[in-house]
Symmetry: C2
Subunit: 138 residues, 2 copies
DNA sequence: AAATATTTTGCAACATTGTTGCATTTAAAA
DNA sequence: TTTTAAATGCAACAATGTTGCAAAATATTT
């Protein structure tokens, strides 16, 4: 609870109940969340627009990052010290086609790629789709 | 022209002007196209819905594949012999943040990744964002 | 070449997702 | 406690995607 405030303050954001709730949703559910997921999780507590704006703010401040996906956009917590100035992500995302959940594999880094002459890479995004351990087990 | 018909026939599709036009849009523009791009390119010739359905059909038949992106979904031609039964893509996508175009780097394969125990990968999608050669030059 | 069967299209209506402006409320600072 | 600045809710709108159905077009059969 207090930790949420700290995180928000650390990113120069006012503490509001909406921001606290959205942040704790990301912390509790471990997987990436879409706007719709949050709307579901938070019920009628907040206006749709407020959630959109909260996500936008969190993105800008480096609290969450985008996770690409066949069927839409999701967001996940930044684990490292991302900031307004600099997002840094080089981990892999895994989406399970059975349970539908997408997770960050923080420990797995995207391998180096040598691009043809002239290409200047800035960011990398690797999504692997398949079956996650929990769903394989069943 | 005749080649378009052949491609469509080869995938067991009736030849219609819409399908021919969409297909040739993909062939002419080299980069990945969104539904909106196509609507722009084809003008008022076809109903929005028809273009949606054409994309869906092409996807199913293995003529095009999805290209993920920060800001939406796009589609690009399958170069190899993809079919209804099997899509096979392991090339890298590059999106230029300057000109906004996304391209398939057909020759660059996604490097192997060793996943933790239990993960069963099925498909891979690597998007690199940065500046493309044309935009670097300027 | 004409008739038939089947697929595709356009239209209308609707659903979902995301955005903007503005008045009101809330959080932080004085 | 008062003031200032930011965040919220609401309403309206814009963009994107989906569904059902009748009309049109394609391919097949006679």
């Amino acid at each position: 609870m207090e930790q949420l405030r700290e995180t928000l303050k650390g990113h120069h954001l006012r503490t509001t109940t909406c921001r606290e709730d959205v942040l704790s949703a990301f912390i509790n559910k471990k997987n990436a969340l879409s706007h719709g997921d949050l709307e579901g999780a938070l019920g009628e507590s907040y206006d749709r627009v407020t959630i959109y704006r909260t996500l936008k703010t969190f993105l800008e401040k480096g609290i969450i990052h985008k996770v690409l996906d066949d069927e839409g956009l999701r967001y996940a917590l930044c684990s490292q010290q991302c900031s307004e100035e600099k997002h840094q992500h080089d981990h892999i995302h895994f989406k399970c086609s059975a349970c539908g959940k997408t997770n960050c594999l923080e420990n797995l880094h995207i391998p180096n790629v040598t691009l043809p002459q002239g290409y200047q890479p800035a960011s990398f995004n690797l999504l692997i789709q398949g079956t996650c351990p929990e769903c394989v087990a069943e």
